[in-house]
Structure formats: C-alpha cells, structure tokens
Subunit: 209 residues, 2 copies
DNA sequence: ACATTTTTGTTGCAATTGCAACAGATTTCT
DNA sequence: AGAAATCTGTTGCAATTGCAACAAAAATGT
C-alpha cells in the first residue's frame, strides 16, 4: 500500500487496547494452530515467522504460505469445506496475537472505544494480505520454472531498488513456494547462471540484465 | 463465510447511501479498467461477470481472475511495481460500482453516517476475496493437472452437495484458470473418463467415486 | 567442538506437459 | 437462416519437470 498507514503502530495499539485478544509464544517447530474447525480465528505475528503447511493424502508437503512480522493469517481466510489438513508451525521463535473475528464484530463493539479505528486498520491488513496472495498467484501462473524465477527476481529487485538482493527463502522453501520440484528448480537456477543471466552466492542473487 | 452477513443487501445500501461511488455499465467485451497507475480503485460487480487478464511480454494470455455478481476487485489489490499489463474486460454485460478506497477512508468519514457500517461490511468482502484467492492457490499448487482437476471437482461437488455438478468455466477458460495448456487439460479429462473416475456431458461432470 | 540434521548441488531417466496443427461441433452475431 | 467466431477434441513430438538417489557443504544443537 502506498498509504502512510503505520502497521506496526496499529498492531501495538490493538495489542494494548483490545481486551479480546490473546497473545501466545511459540518455540521453533511448535504447532501454532490447525485449520480444522471453523472458529473464525485470525492471527497476527508480533515477532518471528510461521509457515502454513498442507499435507495432502499422499503425504506431500506444500508450504501454502509463509508469514512474518506484522502479517495476518488464520483459518477465517480458508474455505470451510477443504479436504486437506492445514497447519501452522513456527519457523522461528514467535509471538502471536490471536483473536476471533466474530467476537470483534459483535461483542467488542460495545465495550471498546478503539473499535472503529480497529476495523478500519484491520481492513488495511486485509488489503495487504490480498496483495500478497495476488503476487503469489502471479508467480504460480507463470508457465515455466524459469519464468517463475525471473518474475520473482524482478519483484525482489524492484523491492530492494537494486540488481543485487537476498532472497527471503532458501532453495528448498523456494521450491515449495513455487510448488515445483527442488532439483528441477536448482537445475533451472544453474542454467540461468550458465547462460549469463544471473550470478548467485547462496541466497544473494545478482541480475546481469 | 458462515456469518449471516447479507452481501447483496449491503451492496445495495452502499450504492444508495454513499455519495462517493460511481456506477457504470459495460457491454460484453468492453474494457472495464486497466491496472496501470495506482489509484487505489476498488470495484464491486452489481451484475454481470468480468475477467482480469494478463498479457505477458510473449503475448500469452492468462485469466488471473474471474469475478461475478457481488465480487470485489480492483488495482488496490495489486502490487504497484508489477511489470505486466493487467486489464479487466466484461465477460458479460455488466454493471459495476467504482470507488476509491482512500477517498472512503478520508473524506467519507465526515459526511456519511453510513461510514462505520460500510467499513465493517467491506471487511467481509475482503475476507471473501481472500478465501477465493486461497482456494485458487490451493489448486495452483497441486502438482499435476490431474490433481488440479480432482481438487477442483471436489470443491464443486462439495459446494453443490452433489456428485453431479456443472462447471462455471468452459474448458478453454478452465485451462487458463489452472494456468495449463488447454490440450493437456483435455487429454487429462479424457484419461479420467477412460479410467472410470468421472463422466462428462459438456460442462456437467459426474463423479463416479 | 563435534555430532546431527538440514540444505545444496548434481545426474539419469521417466512422466507430464506444452506446442502446433487441424477438423468438427457449437455458439454468437446479423 | 446463414456466416463468422469460438470452443472442443485429438494427435505426434519436443521440452520441461518430477522422481530417486547420493555426496558434499552448511547450519544447528548440545
């Protein structure tokens, strides 16, 4: 968003002023929550990082989402009738704010003078989340791994205003994020290097075009 | 959403009570809007259907999104620095409500007693949109065309509470939606029929398992 | 500091998918 | 009703990707 909305500040206010939120801490690897029953739960990450993971019937793991500080996630954003087991695990030591969307709309209205500001700012978080999801879809709909990589590099490069940038994912997670085979991803990265399009040093990528 | 939120009713109220909205009509095939400059524009479909389309540098067309009555879309949901030309065309004769998110937050606050209700209900639309996007990602991250089809059929079947249902897309558009080659999609559909998993009559699918 | 776990890098081969092309069916337009 | 446009169904072949497997490197835990 190109607004001057201060996300961090809002989340802090939320945490302090709203009596309906819970805050919990998680060690790396701990399960934060599972999306099984529909509780309209929404979570905001105060610190740390989490992965939203799906295991399908064949046991294939896919990282459906990766969330970091100030990001919002929760089973309220998922259709009720899904087949898969979704769960969220802490990728790092994390502190997470929990609340129930319906509670916020119904009860909170009456005893919380922060309410109006809350809903407005929550909308901003929703919009940010929609932007993230659209970005992901943008990448997933690219036809080849090469196109996914180039589009992703482009985003990171534009974001850092630099031809040199460091990817937030390692290659294993990047393959999950693209939903492609890791070895196929590595092969394509190598081809991009061999053909002179990029240079690579770990997660640090340099665009040569 | 499993709330009793009446989307249609809200949108009607919005249309009637808010002075900041514009309503325009489009014939099939007309361009509704393009996502070029960042105007924080949000649109809601009053009637009809639209496609959000991307043409990449090679001229490949992808349907990034398809929106129908009561759905929300707009360039506010897309990152500002994208490379692609996105535009929205009317798939059917459509009537569309336009507004600017920032205007709503800033100006509207003071002269519109409908404001608080508006923002709350808008949040519901945002959540619905997030659910749709997550559903799409769910499908796009399936490894094979077969898995995409089976997952999609599953959703449609659960939605209609029936093993028999009619797809909202034709096969050309379905291929776009999955971001796969149309002939490869047809081939896989045929295999599912030959192997006895499904029956098909045009867009009407019967699950045999 | 050392053992253990995770990630990287690589390869051959098989499976899946994309591409191109075209005929027939269906839908849309006038 | 007839013409034009779009969609369906199909195929051979090439390109891309997934799978399996393993060694080396790096990161993590105690």
């Amino acid at each position: 968003m190109d607004t001057n909305f201060d996300k961090k500040n809002f989340i802090n206010n939320f945490k302090k002023n709203c009596k309906k939120v819970q805050i919990k801490k998680f060690a790396k690897g701990e399960t934060v929550t599972t999306y099984i029953e529909k509780r309209n739960q929404i979570c905001i990450i105060l610190s740390g990082e989490v992965d939203l993971i799906r295991y399908d019937v064949n046991g294939n793991k896919t990282i459906i989402g990766h969330f970091a500080e100030n990001d919002i996630f929760g089973e309220v954003f998922y259709p009720a009738n899904t087949n898969n087991e979704l769960f969220v695990t802490a990728a790092k030591k994390s502190e997470i704010l929990f609340f129930t969307y319906n509670t916020l709309l119904d009860e909170c209205k009456y005893d919380c003078n922060f309410h109006s500001e809350l809903i407005t700012n929550l909308s901003e978080l929703f919009i940010d989340e929609i932007i993230d999801l659209n970005l992901r879809i943008e990448l997933l709909t690219k036809r080849t791994i090469r196109d996914k990589l180039l589009a992703y590099f482009d985003i990171l490069s534009k974001g850092s205003l630099n031809k040199i940038f460091t990817m937030p994912y390692n290659y294993t997670d990047l393959a999950d994020f693209f939903s492609v085979d890791r070895s196929a991803l590595m092969r394509e990265v190598k081809l991009l290097i061999d053909e002179g399009f990029i240079k690579k040093d770990g997660r640090k990528i340099t665009l040569l075009y």
